[in-house]
């Protein structure tokens, strides 16, 4: 106990900050999810689990949840496959490699909102540059292009593409770090035994990347599940709920409908889902063990 008191000046401020800005809001959110809060913010008393019933009873709830699963699985899956290929290339020697590595960092450092805005502009009919390119190369026959961002399905698909694009840098660098721990002798030994390059990669290199991959996937799942800006920019102006995920729905409850109690209930659900995914993942894959 005495040594804890001695430690307090050093760790106390950090504990206070976490308690006040992370733990307390979690508690408050759980509390608010059981209250009836008016649009002007007045607490009109407890309602038990009624807010959860309303949120889950909403006719688009299950489609939104299903879309969230698609969003996470597709984005994280494509990111992982893309990163493995990208890291394999960036781990090999070629002139200008450093320049390419630097270019890969750019979407990581850049604001996701700004990256998405460029794509959104590019997809505009008539003057969007991506549409114009697709018309120029003959993939679209209508001269004004296609209204990608006007339809929930195509807007959502493009949002997934942007999400993969901005997730690639971090994942690639993590895999690259993993590749650097693969001893060169193991690769050479496989080569001497007559294994092809592809065979060597899949049976010698890939198994040794397990630690790096599992950590990268875990962090990507958390980030992609919690991602708001891409869908907000890409699909935010589409009426209805056909391109929403749990996260965008929370913000619709909060901002468009000003129903903080329902927003809290859905946030609690999202929070528990993240915790559950992380818990299951950590138990099954044990990502932190081998790093």
């Amino acid at each position: 106990m005495k040594d804890l008191l001695k430690a307090l000046p050093w760790i106390g401020p950090a504990v206070a900050l976490i308690a006040a800005v992370v733990l307390f809001p979690v508690g408050l959110m759980f509390w608010n999810s059981t209250r009836d809060i008016s649009q002007s913010g007045v607490d009109d008393g407890g309602v038990g689990l009624a807010n959860f019933a309303t949120v889950i009873g909403f006719q688009y709830f299950w489609p939104i949840l299903g879309r969230t699963v698609v969003w996470v699985v597709v984005v994280v899956g494509c990111t992982l496959i893309g990163s493995l290929a990208l890291a394999a290339l960036l781990n090999k020697a070629f002139p200008g490699r450093r320049l390419v590595r630097m270019a890969v960092i750019v979407p990581w450092a850049s604001s996701v909102v700004m990256t998405t805005l460029v794509v959104h502009y590019g997809l505009e009919p008539y003057f969007g540059i991506i549409n114009s390119f697709l018309v120029d190369v003959g993939l679209i026959s209508t001269p004004e292009g296609y209204g990608w961002t006007r339809h929930p399905g195509t807007a959502f698909a493009w949002a997934m593409a942007v999400a993969v694009f901005v997730s690639l840098p971090f994942t690639t660098y993590t895999v690259l770090a993993g590749l650097q721990t693969v001893p060169g002798e193991t690769v050479e030994a496989a080569r001497i035994d007559g294994a092809s390059g592809v065979r060597t990669y899949f049976s010698v290199v890939l198994p040794q990347l397990r630690g790096a991959i599992s950590v990268a996937v875990l962090i990507n799942i958390i980030n992609v599940f919690n991602s708001l800006p891409i869908l907000r920019v890409m699909t935010g102006s589409i009426p209805g709920y056909d391109a929403d995920t749990v996260m965008t729905m929370i913000f619709k409850y909060m901002q468009n409908q000003r129903q903080i109690d329902l927003a809290s209930a859905l946030s609690v659900i999202a929070f528990l889902v993240v915790i559950a995914i992380v818990a299951v993942y950590v138990r099954v894959v044990r990502p932190l063990e081998e790093v």
Partner: protein, 307 residues
């Protein structure tokens, strides 16, 4: 979860701070590579380069076009005239007070970074150096924070900040950015401190230096790269933060650029050239910061990424 039961060794092996030269053991040479596969790699590298820079090139070229050109039904890939004056006129566009948004972004990011440094540095040092009751609990708390993001907590934060009267203030976002980047900063600096042999400290203590002097005079110069990494990550994450700012900052002038720029979307006639001009101004500095710590970006392995 070994990372929690023995954070010192785990994080050290993950980020491997002091042994950068070890990473360089495998020399990359193009000597023994056949010309054919070298050309193939070069080609693939070129494709990657173009793909990753393309959105930002479109941004840059768009930022110097006129409004008429960027909204023309016959779009041009490259600007016909280079209108550098967009970078001056964009600040007075009516959609949002961009100059104030830039100041907000700067103040919030700088203050959040300073706060993180002030709070995380002592905690990282102490937990790496001393065993005490509650140490593992503290490190567990730090890891758990890493799993939570502000987006999922905004409804709680919103009500909390109304109650204490700091909704729609810079202070609110400084606290949020600091709190949610704290775990990464503690973790990365912890791993650097843990990489310094304890004997170094003990030698200094024998010479009569106190705990504080050991930290500032002996350890700080050695963990400097870890501090720079933590600072850059925190600054860039705060600079780009979107979800919490969207809800917690309600006055246009208080909002950071990330939130302000979304207001252009859905306008009757979006001034895309201004959107891109502001984006270029906002992106260039943070990309440079990231490039400076390029070698240490993998430090984010355990502690997460910016996005």
């Amino acid at each position: 979860m070994t990372a929690i039961t023995d954070p010192g060794t785990t994080s050290r092996s993950a980020t491997r701070p002091p042994s950068d030269n070890r990473r360089r053991v495998r020399k990359y040479t193009t000597d023994q590579v056949p010309l054919g596969s070298l050309l193939l790699r070069l080609l693939a590298g070129l494709v990657v380069l173009v793909v990753f820079l393309l959105p930002y090139l479109i941004m840059f070229f768009g930022s110097v076009k006129t409004k008429a050109e960027i909204r023309s039904v016959d779009p041009t890939y490259f600007p016909t005239e280079w209108h550098w004056d967009n970078y001056v006129t964009m600040w007075s566009t009516p959609e949002t007070p961009l100059a104030q948004n830039l100041i907000s972004t700067l103040v919030i990011s700088l203050c959040a970074t300073l706060l993180v440094l002030a709070v995380a540095l002592p905690a990282a040092y102490y937990t790496a150096r001393f065993r005490f009751q509650g140490r593992l609990f503290f490190l567990f708390l730090v890891i758990v924070t890493q799993m939570v993001q502000p987006a999922v907590l905004t409804s709680g934060l919103f009500r909390q900040f109304i109650a204490i009267g700091i909704l729609d203030t810079w202070v609110a976002m400084i606290l949020v950015n600091a709190a949610f980047n704290l775990s990464f900063a503690v973790w990365i600096m912890h791993s650097f401190f843990a990489g310094i042999p304890k004997e170094v400290d003990e030698a200094a203590q024998l010479d009569g230096a106190g705990t504080f002097a050991v930290l500032t005079k002996i350890n700080l110069p050695l963990v400097w790269p870890g501090i720079v990494t933590a600072v850059v990550f925190t600054f860039v994450a705060s600079w780009n933060e979107f979800a919490a700012s969207l809800v917690l900052l309600t006055t246009a002038g208080n909002q950071p650029l990330s939130v302000a720029l979304t207001k252009f979307v859905g306008q009757y006639e979006t001034s895309w050239h201004y959107v891109f001009g502001v984006s270029v101004v906002a992106i260039v500095p943070v990309v440079i910061l990231f490039m400076i710590i390029e070698k240490r970006l993998v430090g984010g392995l355990v502690a997460g990424s910016v996005k």
